[in-house]
Amino acid sequence: MPAVTLRVFRGDAAAGGFRDYRVETEPGMVVLDVVHRLQATQVTDLAVRWNCKAGKCGSCSAEINGVPRLLCMTRMNLFADGETITLAPLRAFPLIRDLVTDVSYNYEKAKQIAPLRLKPPEADGSYRMMQEDIDRIQEFHKCIECFLCQDVCHVIRDHDTKPVFAGPRFFIKLASLEMHPLDTRDRIDAIRREAGLGLCNITKCCTEVCPEHIHITDNGIIPLKERMVDEFFDPVVWLVRKLRGTPKAPAS
């Protein structure tokens, strides 16, 4: 395969801009391979985050031609011959350097979510859960915390609502706890007040970029919104649902 032109953001919070580089490629490469080659041969201090190079750790998030994606799961054959490939850091988070941003906002939000409050075990001291009762939650547990959904969400991007908005990644986290067969905590108030679910207007941009193909909006956010409405008006609904222990029928 021929050389390609990478247009890469270089710089930090103080100053920076795009620079063009020519890099040789080989068949089968992903964008991260090309970035590594650039780093090894031309720009040794090019800042980029990565770990697994297999779409499993969610470290290598960036914006490729304006679209939030994983560098390690974006194949070079996606681009037309001769096309310039533009690489920029995630826009929603403060820049550290080059392609690396400060994602600590997400870790702070994670900390605000109260942990599981375990229900008492069965008579024999153990817990039983049926596969069909956890299928939906297992979908949420696929999240690799790449924060691409957070990056694309306009509530985080365009408004200074970070203090009162957890974002799509943490809505599905909350949904997974809310639907967890062993959790007994009432989270509705926290979801409404602290996580700011009401600010989401279901644009579904988050779902579109999720590399794990999690149905963030249909299976996570919308059911949560429904519960919020139901239970705000009728706390008994919550109690009944918790006692029955069955998650609400999910969309698929």
Binding site: A47, N51, C52, K56, S59, Y107, L116, K142
Partner: protein
């Protein structure tokens, strides 16, 4: 760049936030001491996140016949008896509780029909034993631990790399580190330190391991005066991707074979039947029909040779490729599509499906995969006390992949994730006890810190022109070529010479730019530990004149009973590395009997 540093103080610091480090930090915090958790990457991105197939624990949910004794026996036999028996015992006994504990912290494993944790088959395990979540078990495990840990009052220092352990006399008193984001230095003062830094696989060119696996913990321990054992035993996982070149080495979980996939050569033969070693003959199926029946009836059939321990399978693949019976890109075929329906494959192995589809344009529900060996895991590590994880240096503990002993000469799949929990918990507990018991003022010598800072910054101001990436690359090629699956004296000697020359060149490495988030600089600093573990592994491989587990010598092709009684021990001496052969702990009579019995 500033040569000064900030100081952080904790009772216990844990270096590494994979499964072992997180579990250690949680346990130490539960003992009421202050805990600092330090990791090179962001929280939740450690290697543990990549683990696929499952976590081994004799829960007995699928096969009630299973119990800790069977697990113990499998582990010892898989490691060709070089294991520390006491670690193997604790591991097998405690793994079920640790898995159930994860469940109480919110983990959702795949379920049996009656609502219990489902278990899958894996190489070397007598019964289906691996608790799992499809093929993303490590993700479930690390996220559960992470979400639990963040509510325990632990101070987390992300993207912070420890460069050196600090000592006051004989005793460890902290660590010297830098923060990636700004390049600033930090001194962590602590009464006890737990190393949980993972492995060394980045020293090889074809590897399933990430940039983090530069053997930092192994080197930190060695430099601080601790013993390393079994460094010759490096696991080459039989099934890594081989094509396209840029994904070479990425892991294909053993779960593919556990769920019914078979290995074939380019003649379509299930060649593993030709590679059943004497040691496992009695418990391995010798016909295809028996092997196929075993998946559903383990009482009346023996295990398929596709699921022999990893060292055996990796050598067999190596031999098939050498004999010209390999796949087009130098591997062999791993076929599950011919044997299991597409739905089943997608449900059980979603991330393998995804990985092949996205990275290799292969639909594994329709076509076989091409696979070959990839450097995966190091059995060797810091010599520890089995019960407490204490190293030979006071105040220094180790757990997880960085610790040696549990797996002997070869690790069984699934036994790492359980190792992390069992021994992470133990090391965290005992480090906290140690910190509480031994008070006293520990002194960090400012002049020492100053000189460490100066040394770390040297690559910015050197006149020499060596590129850190180029040296790393050459080391990886050297280790791949000369210290790979099959070793021989002349090549190992050649490797030692090459490593010496690379060490000299590493002394002339120069980096561009500034201290803030500068991967060139990070690579230059990692070279020191990477070269150290490469040397350790090569020296130990040269010393052990026999073949056993993850160490195969062409010039000594047989296992030698005398070598079966000793560990190769490495320790620092006069600025160099000294080797010794030291006897294994004595195996109690009751276990001798258990291990001697036919299965």
């Amino acid at each position: 760049m500033a040569r000064d540093w900030e100081t952080q103080e904790h009772d216990v610091i844990v270096v590494g936030a994979g499964g072992a480090g997180l579990r250690a930090a949680i346990e130490a915090a539960a003992q009421g001491v202050s805990v600092g958790l330090i990791c090179k990457s962001l929280l939740g991105k450690a290697h543990t996140v990549m683990a696929e197939g499952g976590i081994a624990a004799a829960l007995g949910n699928v096969w009630p016949e299973d119990n800790w004794r069977v697990h113990f026996r499998d582990t010892m036999r898989g490691g060709k008896m070089l294991n520390n028996w006491r670690m193997a015992q604790l591991h097998a006994q405690e793994a079920p509780d640790r898995v159930l504990e994860l469940e109480r912290w919110g983990a959702l494993f795949d379920r049996t029909k009656d609502g219990r944790i489902l278990q899958r088959d894996f190489g070397g395990h007598r019964y289906a034993r691996l608790a799992h979540v499809g093929d993303r078990t490590g993700l479930e495990m690390i996220r559960t631990l992470q979400d639990h840990a963040i509510h325990q009052g632990i101070d987390v220092h992300m993207e912070t790399t420890v460069l050196r352990l600090l000592k006051d006399g004989d005793r460890v008193c902290g660590a010297f580190a830098y923060r990636r984001d700004r390049g600033d230095f930090v001194v962590f003062r602590a009464k006890a330190v737990v190393l949980a830094t993972g492995g060394i696989g980045k020293a090889w060119a074809i590897t399933s391991n990430s940039w983090e696996y530069t053997g930092d913990g192994h080197s930190l321990a060695l430099w601080a005066g601790a013993d390393l054992i079994d460094m010759e035993f490096v696991q080459f996982h039989p099934t890594g991707m081989v094509w396209p070149p840029s994904v070479r080495g990425i892991l294909v979980t053993e779960g593919v074979r556990g769920d019914g996939g078979t290995l074939k050569n380019n003649l379509g033969e299930r060649f593993m039947f030709r590679y059943i070693p004497e040691y496992f003959r009695a418990e391995t199926a010798d016909t295809e029909a028996e092997a196929d029946r075993w998946y559903t009836d383990k009482t009346n059939n023996r295990r398929t040779p596709d699921l022999l321990p990893r060292d055996e399978v990796a050598r067999a693949i190596n031999a098939e490729v050498k004999a010209g019976r390999g796949s087009p890109h130098g591997g062999v075929f791993l076929d599950i599509c011919a044997r299991r329906p597409a739905d089943y494959i997608k449900k059980r192995l979603p991330s393998m499906y995804h990985q092949f589809k996205e990275l290799a344009d292969v639909d594994i529900t329709k076509d076989p995969m091409e696979v070959g060996p990839t450097c995966h895991y190091v059995m060797g590590g810091v010599r520890v006390d089995a019960d407490s994880g204490a190293s030979t240096v006071p105040g220094l503990f180790a757990a997880g992949e960085v610790a040696g002993g549990l797996h002997g000469s070869n690790r069984l799949g699934g036994n790492s994730l359980s190792d992390l929990l069992v021994f992470g918990r133990r090391a965290g507990f005992h480090a906290a006890l140690y910190a509480k018991d031994r008070g006293g003022q520990l002194r960090v010598e400012p002049r020492e810190v100053e000189s460490l800072a100066r040394e770390a910054l040297e690559p910015f101001s050197r006149a020499g022109g060596e590129n850190p990436y180029a040296i790393q690359h050459e080391l990886q090629e050297t280790m791949q070529r000369l210290v790979g699956i099959i070793r021989t004296e002349s090549e190992l000697r050649e490797a030692i010479g090459a490593i010496e020359r690379l060490k000299e060149r590493a002394g002339r490495v120069r980096v561009e730019g500034e201290g803030a988030y500068n991967p060139g600089w990070h690579t230059a600093l990692d070279l020191r530990s990477l070269l150290t573990v490469a040397e350790c592994s090569t020296l130990a491989a040269l010393e052990r004149r026999e073949s056993r587990g993850g160490h195969t010598r062409e010039d000594y092709p047989k296992a030698d009973p005398e070598w079966g009684k000793v560990n190769v021990v490495l320790r620092r001496k006069d600025g160099g590395i000294a080797l010794a052969r030291e006897p294994l702990p004595d195996l109690p009579a009751e276990f001798q009997k258990l291990l001697g019995e036919p299965s």
